[in-house]
């Protein structure tokens, strides 16, 4: 229950005036009574400071709006989300992915809001932060008073998320704060409540009723994510960006973030992992998690295969076919005591088939361009391929595929694959080089 400057005053509307002074002629008794009063005060203050979900709902339902992406031709909503009054009376804060359809095709769609009392109106896009999945929209007329924002409460504290799940109407979901997640590059808070589609963009309150985050996504039942409010502050901008320019702004945001993110990795210290006779970089960032991915061995196999798979968890939603900022890498080791080299290499070659996994199609990206060379890594020769393709609608972003397979050993093979989506080409190239330098052959 830490107090902060934004704490609501002790003079609560519940009518009690706890600051009353008790007069007493007996100093000792006075001290005792004062102590009793203070205790009473503290006990009384606790329920006064913390609101329940009903109170939070009642106080804030007027400030939470539905945001619809409407097809201009049919007049019907194509996707829905939520938003709340933020920073200025006519501004609503919401998620980037709630309005992304409109950004992709502004002549096909339009944005509209729906209030809890049913009133509707058009919305304009003011600003976006694609990296943190935030957007700011505005209407002509003010909505009301902007909600108060503050920093998230401690881990374990109660959180309440409001929104319009599955278009069932405005509700509030209760849960607890699971803490800021380092694997999301500190850009997400874990929420144990149940968020569902439609609640994106809605506010999450602490138990004092201030907004501490904005609903963004869910992994499964009771594992949901909130964007902390500090990222919203950067959205308070004065100038409106014209609709045609949003793609360029988004590309720039993502590119700058990628450069910072990757450079942070390149400059950082990496833990090493030994995979049989190769020492390899482990998790190259707090945002990366590595798992064992070795296939189950069978008795009739005349070889042994081990593999480690690592990926990051802070991908950025760009559209329903494009998720950028993904980093995936894997190490495969294969060895045999019994197979002749010809047989071994048949198998080894069959494993060397890295392809980029993505939903992007020909409207989103160009063809891959590849180059294959033989490179000396830690005294071993690797057949190395690097492939890249650019994004058509976001020029400056690229997908990269990298694959290196060790040659020169009769019965041992090692493959290193690395995929990066929607990244900056130069920064990604530097990361590749740094990772190659981190491979070490153990004699």
């Amino acid at each position: 229950m830490a107090s902060s400057p934004e704490d609501p005053p002790l003079f609560h509307s519940r009518g009690r005036y706890p600051g009353a002074v008790i007069r007493n002629r007996h100093p000792a008794l006075f001290a005792l009574r004062l102590t009793a009063l203070l205790i009473l005060l503290c006990a009384a203050a606790a329920p006064v400071l913390a609101l329940d979900s009903q109170a939070i709902f009642e106080r804030n339902e007027q400030a939470v709006y539905q945001i619809h992406v409407v097809n201009r031709d049919t007049g019907k909503k194509s996707s829905i989300g939520s938003g709340f009054i933020f920073d200025r009376p006519q501004h609503l804060a919401t998620n980037y992915h709630v309005v992304s359809q409109f950004i992709e095709k502004p002549d096909r769609y339009e944005l509209r809001f729906v209030a809890s009392d049913g009133t509707e109106g058009p919305l304009r896009l003011v600003a976006v932060d694609a990296v943190h999945d935030l957007a700011l929209v505005e209407a002509d007329a003010p909505f009301g008073d902007p909600l108060q924002v503050s920093e998230p409460p401690p881990k374990g504290a109660a959180l309440y998320a409001m929104g319009n799940p599955l278009d069932l109407g405005l509700t509030i979901a209760a849960g607890t704060n699971g803490g800021v997640l380092s694997q999301t590059d500190d850009s997400r808070i874990l929420f144990s409540g149940s968020l569902n589609a439609g609640m994106s963009g809605g506010p999450t309150f602490d138990e004092r009723g201030t907004v501490v985050g904005i609903n963004v996504s869910t992994a499964r039942n009771d594992i949901s994510f909130i964007v902390p409010t500090r990222y919203l502050q950067s959205l308070s901008v004065a100038n409106v960006v014209p609709a045609e320019d949003f793609r360029r702004v988004i590309t720039q945001q993502i590119r700058e973030y990628q450069i910072r993110y990757l450079q942070g990795m390149i400059d950082g210290a990496w833990p090493s992992t030994d995979l049989r006779r190769m020492r390899v970089p482990g998790a190259i960032s707090p945002t990366v998690r590595c798992w064992d991915a070795s296939p189950k061995p069978k008795d009739e196999h005349l070889y042994r295969r081990f593999s480690i798979s690592c990926k990051n968890e802070n991908d950025i939603y760009l559209s329903d076919t494009l998720e950028v900022g993904k980093i995936l890498y894997e190490y495969l080791w294969i060895e045999s005591d019994h197979l002749e080299p010809l047989r071994f290499y048949r198998l080894y070659q069959a494993l060397n088939n890295s392809q980029f996994s993505s939903k992007a199609d020909k409207d989103d990206v160009e063809r891959f361009r590849c180059d294959t060379q033989f490179v000396d890594l830690s005294g071993q020769t690797f057949k190395t391929t690097v492939c890249a393709r650019g994004y058509k609608n976001y020029p400056g972003l690229s997908d990269l595929l990298f694959s290196a397979a060790m040659v020169g050993h009769d019965r041992q093979g090692f493959i290193f694959n690395l995929d990066l989506s929607g990244t900056d080409f130069s920064a990604a190239s530097r990361l590749i080089v740094r990772m190659l330098e981190g491979l070490q052959w153990l004699p």
Binding site: D299, E300, L302, Y303, S336, L339, P341, L342, R343, F344, Y345, R346, L347, Y348, Q349, N352, N353, S354, Q355, F356, S358, A360, D361, K362, E366, R367, F368, R369, C370, D371, T372, Q373, F374, V375, D376, L377, T381, K383, T384, T385, V386, C387, A388, R389, G390, Y391, G396, S398, L401, S403, A405, V407, D410, G413, F425, S429, I432, V433, L436, E437
Partner: protein, 319 residues
């Protein structure tokens, strides 16, 4: 002039008649000199008669389908002067031949040397089939990085052999159609040789790909195989070995192989990314070889970073 020969061609082969009489009448009725069974032939269709000066004249007797020479309907009598004279009576093809007409060479049953021996001899047929079995078994062995059990190995081998024998039977049938003969040894030899060659090429292409660090060798070989080698081999088989009609054989081969060739061509074009159209796949040389024989030299990481990586940059300015 010696008596001319009339050749009646039908599905069952050809019938030959010497023109001994001053006139020879052909038709479907049973009181003709040459009786034809084809229902498109009129009862009294045409007549060949000897003139006073010794030459012959061909004359149509019926109006329904008449006589066609070179596809054109002939109404007036024709002097038989350029031999062989080929005409159609209805759907029956008839040739008038000079007895001095040179016939096709004798087909040797048992050969005395020469490469064509391979395709007539049971010994060769079985040898080539054994070779195919060995090569496919070797390929099967290479593809199985597991403890070999007789049943799994033989099951895979049996499948390959069934496919080969299926092709042999298909070829036998084609053979029968073009040369009216069942010729198992030559079909077996031919299929075995062709499949063995295909397997050997398949085994060698990855090494060529690795050597040149390029998918080009595979592309060239694949294209040459399905568009040139295979059709040529089949046509050669039908024409040279079985003396089938050249034009007919070529047409037959093209029609037979066209769907397969088209499919192969499509596969090659997309696999080797020839048209540079969009594909979600990235195309690169992913072959590996236990003997590291190649043209490309090994680079250091710095050289790779400076020379190779920039060549794939989507920004043309970087490249």
């Amino acid at each position: 002039m010696a008596s001319l020969i009339v050749e009646i061609q039908s599905r069952h082969g050809a019938q030959y008649h010497r023109i001994d009489t001053p006139s020879l009448r052909l038709g479907r009725a049973l009181d003709n000199d040459i009786i034809l069974a084809d229902p498109s032939v009129s009862p009294y269709h045409c007549i060949v008669h000897r003139n006073d000066n010794g030459s012959y004249t061909l004359k149509s007797l019926a109006d329904e389908n008449g006589i066609r020479i070179g596809g054109r309907r002939i109404e007036d009598p024709v002097t038989v002067d350029h031999l062989p004279l080929v005409f159609d009576a209805g759907r029956t093809r008839i040739r008038i031949l000079d007895p001095a007409h040179i016939v096709a060479p004798t087909r040797m049953i048992s050969c005395h040397g020469g490469s064509v021996c391979m395709f007539g001899h049971w010994g060769w047929a079985l040898l080539l089939f054994a070779l195919l079995t060995l090569i496919s078994a070797f390929d099967n062995y290479l593809s199985t990085p597991l403890t070999l059990t007789w049943e799994s190995f033989w099951r895979d081998q049996a499948i390959i052999m069934m496919v080969a024998l299926g092709l042999v039977v298909s070829l036998l049938i084609i053979n029968r159609i073009t040369s009216h003969r069942w010729d198992l040894p030559s079909s077996l030899s031919f299929v075995s040789l062709l499949l063995a060659t295909a397997l050997v090429l398949d085994l060698m292409i990855p090494y060529a790909d690795y050597f040149f660090t390029s998918p080009l060798p595979g592309f060239i070989v694949g294209l040459a195989w399905s568009l040139i080698l295979l059709p040529w081999a089949m046509a050669w088989f039908l024409v040279r070995l079985h003396h089938g009609n050249t034009a007919a054989s070529i047409v037959f081969v093209v029609v037979l192989l066209l769907p397969a060739a088209y499919y192969q061509l499509k596969e090659i074009v997309s696999h080797y990314d020839l048209l540079n159209t969009f594909s979600k796949r990235s195309f690169y040389s992913d072959t590996l070889s236990p003997w590291d024989r190649r043209l490309q030299s090994t680079l250091s990481i710095d050289e790779f970073s400076a020379m190779s990586i920039p060549t794939v940059s989507p920004d043309t300015a970087d490249r």
